[in-house]
Assembly symmetry: C2
Homo-oligomer: 212 residues x 2
């Protein structure tokens, strides 16, 4: 069955080529500007072909959502080498913010857009947000370890993790949506945006430090 195998490979290859083309346009021009027809033109197939390999546009952006989570999880897993759990927690936060700043389109699809979340609900697969769960697990574990070092005593781990996530997300999302920049500009203190986000995170870190 070498032929059917080759065909199967070819099919998977095309599915991947679609995703690569989508990613390229997506990173360059953002979600709204990435149309099915543009993706089709990029891979030199007709627009309808894409619907053979992906259910709809949300299916494609969900695939990019997953790819983004793979990127982020990889970054996080290397941080597990950091022994001190609180230092690791801070490193996770810094990495999270850095990821959002350097991959704004991916961040948007992962944490800001409703569409991928809707896709999880509508898709026939179990409507679990596994990508989110895994990354959140790393955060939970780190916070649990922090508790053994005297941080976050008498606080529910899941709650501490969730709040920490919302806190860094707030920084990143307002950075990406230009609100942080516009506010800074309006206040007349034209700081570098990298400095602003870093300082906000550092302040939050000191808040967490005081739980010890």
């Amino acid at each position: 069955m070498g032929i059917t195998e080759r065909k199967q490979r070819h099919k998977e290859d095309l599915r991947n080529r679609i995703l690569e083309a989508a990613k390229k346009l997506f990173v360059q021009q953002g979600y709204e500007a990435t149309s099915i027809r543009k993706i089709a033109k990029e891979i030199e197939f007709s627009p309808t072909t894409i619907y053979i390999y992906y259910k709809d546009k949300n299916d494609i952006i969900y695939a990019l959502h997953q790819e983004g989570f793979n990127m982020l999880r990889e970054k996080f897993s290397t941080l597990m080498l950091v022994e001190n759990p609180f230092e690791r927690l801070k490193a996770i936060g810094k990495t999270y913010i850095e990821f959002g700043r350097t991959n704004p389109e991916f961040y948007e699809v992962m944490f800001m857009m409703k569409e991928p979340m809707d896709f999880i609900g509508n898709s026939c697969m179990d409507d679990k947000w596994e990508d989110g769960e895994k990354v959140f697990g790393i955060l939970e574990q780190t916070i649990t370890e922090c508790q053994t070092k005297g941080y976050f005593t008498n606080l529910p781990v899941k709650l501490v993790a969730l709040q920490a996530w919302t806190a860094v997300h707030g920084i990143v999302s307002l950075y990406i949506s230009q609100h942080l920049f516009k506010l800074n500009e309006t206040l007349g203190l034209n700081y570098d945006m990298q400095v602003v986000t870093d300082q906000a995170f550092q302040l939050f870190s000191t808040y967490l430090e005081r739980t010890k």
Copy 2:
């Protein structure tokens, strides 16, 4: 000049009717689903008429952005009656979250979408985000007063205010984008979303309290 005056009123009236129609559709169906043609049908005018009163769709959503800020500012200004600055700070946070939860479409246009921010930049008016500035001012003042009570000592007011804003925004935006809900569902602890957001905010409040 009674006639020209009446005409002028009629013109302003139509501009308002467009905005009211837009708001209605917008609240009911969200931004994406609110098309110029639907607004036109609502007010029983042709789609092109709308372009006489608003530059483009971004102009309309910027008007809604402003309206949202007026709503929020009103809520905040009544909180100025709260004497204790730290209690007021907490009240501001609670009100902010409550506002986002009950007016998700407005919140989106005010703090999550890029379009209104772009409009500020492209518009001929001074590209200041005055709506944001005013609300931020209330936050700043409250934090300044908190400092006289011993909170946030040796910390820059603007930084504390900015970080507080990002923290609550993180809660609200992840609530609106369904990410918080999906994570809770996935973790199998089907809490009420109102409880989750409130608890996250309360935890953040305790962090702030420890700065005293």
